[in-house]
């Protein structure tokens, strides 16, 4: 996408520069009309329509994969995240586990994050794991995430939420299936992270 954009941009700049520099000689109105049709139809219609086709052919399936549709087998793991000014309250509904500013998830497993808010609109975002989703008063939004490796991932609030907006980070720790089970049975990290307000 970026490569294609850069090519289009460079070509356009070059053409424009040349058009300003070149000496066309005498051009009749009919010739000008032909130039117009050539440039406008190819550049103004064909180019954007072609590019949009390419983008959509890539974009719609990519978006589709990120939807929280029921997975082919079993059920996605559900974690509830409630945003506050200015910290994240994380709950595992099937276990009695509650964390602040930290999530622990199994790697290579789809996880559904159920997002709510206690006050204003926030936005839950882990840049390396996927897109962001807002927390809206009165609604529950579901974000599908899947970590393809173990390790720590940095996350933060992406929707401006007041004075503490800059200080609302959290950490997502992806563990292997065994480590995750072990952690579930012995969640020593119950108080992991601290409120930052």
């Amino acid at each position: 996408m970026f490569g294609f954009s850069v090519v289009v941009m460079a070509a356009l700049y070059g053409l424009w520069w040349y058009a300003m520099r070149r000496d066309p000689g005498e051009i009749s109105d009919q010739q000008a009309q032909r130039h117009q049709n050539r440039w406008v139809i190819w550049g103004g219609l064909a180019l954007p329509i072609g590019s949009i086709t390419l983008l959509l052919a890539f974009g719609i399936p990519a978006g589709h994969r990120m939807l929280p549709l029921p997975p082919a087998e079993g059920e996605a793991l559900v974690i509830e995240v409630k945003a506050h000014q200015w910290f994240w309250q994380v709950r595992y509904p099937e276990r009695d586990i509650e964390l602040i500013n930290a999530l622990v998830i199994p790697a290579n497993t789809p996880v559904d994050i159920h997002l709510t808010t206690a006050d204003v609109i926030h936005s839950f975002w882990v840049p390396r794991l996927g897109g962001k989703l807002d927390t809206i008063p009165g609604r529950t939004n579901v974000l599908r995430l899947e970590a393809d490796r173990t390790g720590d991932f940095h996350g933060q609030c992406a929707e401006f939420c007041g004075a503490g907006h800059a200080h609302m980070p959290f950490v997502v720790t992806a563990k292997s299936a065994e480590d995750y089970q072990q952690w579930l049975n012995n969640p020593d990290a119950r108080t992991q992270g601290d409120r930052d307000d």
């Binding site: 996408m1 954009s5 941009m9 356009l12 700049y13 424009w16 520069w17 058009a19 300003m20 520099r21 000496d23 066309p24 051009i27 000008a32 130039h35 117009q36 440039w39 406008v40 190819w42 550049g43 103004g44 219609l45 180019l47 954007p48 329509i49 590019s51 949009i52 983008l55 959509l56 974009g59 719609i60 990519a62 978006g63 589709h64 990120m66 939807l67 000014q85 204003v120 609109i121 936005s123 975002w125 840049p127 897109g131 962001k132 989703l133 807002d134 809206i136 008063p137 009165g138 609604r139 939004n141 992406a158 929707e159 401006f160 939420c161 007041g162 004075a163 907006h165 800059a166 980070p169």
Partner: protein, 834 residues
């Protein structure tokens, strides 16, 4: 009177501003346009200063130069000032200044409205700015997302400043929108058909219409949010049955068209300049008109792309995603039409062209990132990061500021009669261009690396440090460039070389005026038979000044314009327009009093301000038609063409209809809010019992219907040239209208709604007050009209005013029954209580 000097002096006497402080009563479009532009530039400096403070804070990680509270005020005010107090008003000012000169008119058709618009802008801007100096500026971001901007999470007066101040400023945008639309459609020089209009006028026509349909949703949203903050009506509060997402819909329903409202006039500048410097008519005029139309419509179908992360079904997102990408088509058509023009022409390179080239580089880059952002999965990743900040600055600075500077340098000789300095101008351009790219090109990367927008500081070591530092350095280079441009502008008024007439050898009529222009622009109005009047006849300026064309007379002492029909530009009437007037300033002061007393929450004073503003506005409307200060009936009346107040279709009727289109958009936004809350608000609740009397409302509706039918008969008889029994008929109308008004007030007062408790009742109340407002205004206008009939200002010979008021009565009737159906009957059918 053939002596040109004597002619000029006679015209100046009629058209000039009053001396001394009297200049505050000026209504002339050249004066008002310049005031808009100069005021806008001053606000631009404030906005730029705020940007510098923001970049200083972000230059290094973990700095505490500016705390989060002040930082949040600064970036909110930066966005607000740049958008609402700089970008829109400056472009409006340019359009107000330029349009009459381009279409061969002496002024806009509603000069007092230009003046009212300017004062609303000035006072509103000063009120908003004062919050910054008091340290209580709005701090919820320029799009004011609720609940962050609500009374609970923003208890200070900051949000009130924003909501009230911006609504006040928006009066000026609406005023400009209405008056530009009517002027372009009805006062072009004879023979200037739609197809012969300068391309700039097409852009401005589209911009004006977009303002008319784009701004009302925000005005409604601001009123609702202010009502929620001040009176606790829960439109956006989940607990009361409201929904915060409704604000986002209303805001972006305005917010996205707004971007194109800024881009269109700027693109119009580009389309005007390129043919002049390529010395070749614009290639693909029709293609460009087509793309203007497309942008005008498609840009209203994109607003949800600002809301891709709020959790809307993906199919709905896909509609908006595709629509957003489709906007690339009209933009590409324009870019390639410009390219083709340059391709077939021999380009004279000069300062304005340099800015145009800068525009192209920056804007194309911003356009491409825009197409990327329209892609939903990519948007989920970079939404609300510095990537978006970079994109929007590329589009707005590239798409609006750079063409504006090109236009400024191009038209500077027109405004001042002097040429700017080439050398200072080049330095200014290159510093701005390099500084801009250093700031914002890198910011794309900062955003891709995950830096969210609107954070007042960031941790070191996330890979953002050097990027931010370079961005800040770039920002300061850019401000140095702008300082140089400013210096160039100021110096040129004194040291610039005097400009020759039409120094760029342009083709459009604005260069047929004097430079600097006289107050009346044209001594006579020429017939136009091509798109390039000055290329076809370089002697045109002289014959215009000599009075060789239409309406060269001035001894009648009236300010006169030529009224032509909208499509074919055939002469229809002579419009006589008002001269210098204090009423706009008085009315704006009254409205400023309303705004300030709402801010400090002294409601009786606000009501008082509203009443006096209303009195001033009605007083203003009194000086029309055959009033001694307008065009009293004379012995030797013009008959061919007649004066517009002696006809049944003048600018006032067009102005009324265009205003009602804006009004209808506001009403539709309210209907949208009503249905939106009914269907998707998470906690929507109905009151336990029906409180509003359905039959009572029906009865008052019948009275309203009778009133309107009575009035309609009156106007039909006037149209047919009969004025026997006019006065009794008008009195009957007024009595019926008063009965309707009284019963409507009774129905509202006895309804016992609880707008503070339920969003349902809150929306219903707003609807009822909206109806009441229209009935009240229509009734008052009818009463005044009865008095004018008695005074002989309305008669078979002067049918105009009655016909101007008619659409307003019909609109009042229409919204009444639509409301009755949508707010009462439909919910009943749905199975709830209204």
């Amino acid at each position: 009177m053939t002596d040109p000097r004597a002619r000029h002096q006679a015209f100046e006497k009629v058209w000039g501003n009053l001396p001394g402080f009297g200049t505050l009563a000026a209504v002339n479009h050249t004066s008002i346009g310049l005031r808009f532009m100069v005021t806008g530039m001053l606000f631009f400096l404030v906005g730029g200063l705020l940007a510098m403070l923001v970049r200083t804070q972000l230059a290094l990680p973990e700095q505490e130069i500016i705390g989060p509270e002040a930082y949040n005020q600064f970036f909110t005010m930066h966005g607000t000032v740049m958008m609402f107090l700089f970008a829109i008003p400056v472009l409006e000012g340019l359009a107000l200044y330029m349009i009459p000169k381009m279409i061969g008119a002496r002024d806009l058709v509603f000069p007092r409205i230009s003046s009212l618009g300017y004062y609303c802008y000035l006072f509103g801007g000063l009120i908003i700015l004062s919050s910054l100096f008091l340290g209580i500026a709005p701090d919820s971001g320029w799009f004011m997302y609720t609940p962050l901007s609500s009374a609970e999470y923003a208890p200070g007066p900051g949000s009130d400043f924003w909501l009230l101040g911006i609504t006040f400023v928006e009066i000026s945008a609406m005023a400009a929108g209405i008056e530009l639309t009517v002027s372009i459609l009805r006062s072009r020089a004879p023979g200037m058909t739609l197809t012969r209009m300068p391309i700039f006028c097409w852009y401005i026509l589209a911009m004006a219409l977009m303002i008319i349909f784009g701004f009302p949703p925000l005005i409604l949203g601001s009123i609702l949010l202010e009502l929620e903050r001040a009176a606790g009506w829960p439109f956006f509060e989940v607990a009361g049955g409201g929904d915060p997402l409704l604000w986002q819909h209303l805001f972006w329903l305005f917010g996205h068209p707004e971007v194109y409202i800024l881009f269109l006039p700027a693109a119009g500048i580009v389309s005007t300049l390129i043919p002049v410097f390529a010395r070749r008519p614009l290639v693909g005029y029709r293609w460009i008109v087509l793309s203007i139309l497309l942008i005008g419509f498609i840009s209203f179908g994109l607003w949800v792309h600002h809301m891709f992360t709020v959790g809307i079904p993906q199919l709905a997102q896909a509609f908006f995603s595709v629509a957003s990408m489709l906007v690339a088509v009209p933009t590409a058509i324009q870019v390639f039409a410009w390219l083709a023009t340059l391709w077939t022409g021999r380009v004279a390179f000069s300062l304005p062209m340099l800015w145009i080239f800068g525009f192209l580089i920056i804007f194309v880059c911003g356009g491409l990132t825009g197409v990327m952002l329209a892609l939903v999965p990519f948007n989920w990743q970079v939404h609300d990061t510095h990537f978006v900040v970079a994109h929007l600055h590329y589009v707005l600075v590239g798409g609006m500021f750079f063409p504006l500077m090109a236009g400024l340098y191009y038209w500077l000789p027109h405004i001042s009669g002097r040429m700017p300095s080439e050398r200072l101008g080049y330095w200014g351009f290159w510093l701005t261009f390099i500084g801009f790219n250093a700031t914002f090109l890198l910011m794309h990367l900062t955003g891709l690396l995950g830096m969210p927008r609107r954070v007042y500081t960031y941790e070191a070591g996330l890979g953002w440090d050097w990027l931010n530092l370079l961005s800040s350095v770039g920002g300061f280079i850019m401000s140095a460039g702008i300082a140089l441009i400013l210096m160039d502008l100021l110096l040129h008024f004194r040291f610039g070389k005097p400009a020759s007439r039409n120094p760029w050898n342009a083709d459009t009529l604005e260069w047929a005026t004097n430079t600097p222009p006289s107050a009346y622009n044209f001594g006579s109005i020429p017939d136009i038979d091509s798109r390039h009047p000055l290329w076809d006849d370089p002697g045109l300026p002289d014959s215009i000044a000599a009075g060789d064309h239409h309406i060269p007379e001035i001894d009648h002492g009236r300010r006169e314009l030529l009224g032509t029909d909208a499509i074919g530009a055939r002469v229809r009437e002579v419009m006589h327009i008002p001269t210098n007037s204090w009423w706009p300033l008085c009315a704006a002061l009254g409205l400023a009093l309303v705004c300030i007393s709402l801010l400090v929450r002294v409601y009786p004073l606000a009501l008082f301000g509203l009443v006096i503003a209303g009195i001033f506005l009605f007083r203003w409307s009194w000086e029309n038609g055959a009033h001694p200060k307008a065009a009293p009936l004379g012995v030797n009346e013009r008959t061919d063409p007649p004066l517009h107040s002696r006809t049944t279709d003048g600018p006032g009727r067009w102005g009324m209809i265009v205003t009602l289109m804006a009004d209808a958009t506001l009403y539709l936004s309210l209907l949208f809010g009503w249905f939106y809350l009914w269907t998707v608000s998470p906690d929507w609740r109905l009151p336990e019992e029906t409180r509003l009397s359905t039959s009572g409302l029906m009865a008052t509706g019948v009275l309203l219907t009778l009133t309107v039918f009575r009035y309609r008969r009156l106007t039909e008889r006037l149209r047919a040239g009969q004025d026997s029994g006019l006065w009794p008929a008008s009195v009957q109308t007024s009595v019926l209208a008063l009965l309707h008004l009284g019963s409507l007030i009774w129905v509202i007062a006895s309804a016992g709604l609880e707008p503070g408790a339920l969003a349902h009742d809150a929306v219903l109340s707003v609807m009822l007050y909206y109806l009441l407002f229209h009935s009240l205004v229509a009734t008052l206008a009818s009463l005044l009209q009865s008095a004018r009939i008695k005074l002989g200002y309305v008669s078979a010979h002067l049918p105009y005013e009655a016909i101007v008021l008619k659409p307003f009565w019909i609109y009042t009737l229409a919204i009444f029954w639509i409301s009755y159906t949508a707010f009462l009957l439909l919910p009943l059918a749905w199975g709830g209580s209204p």
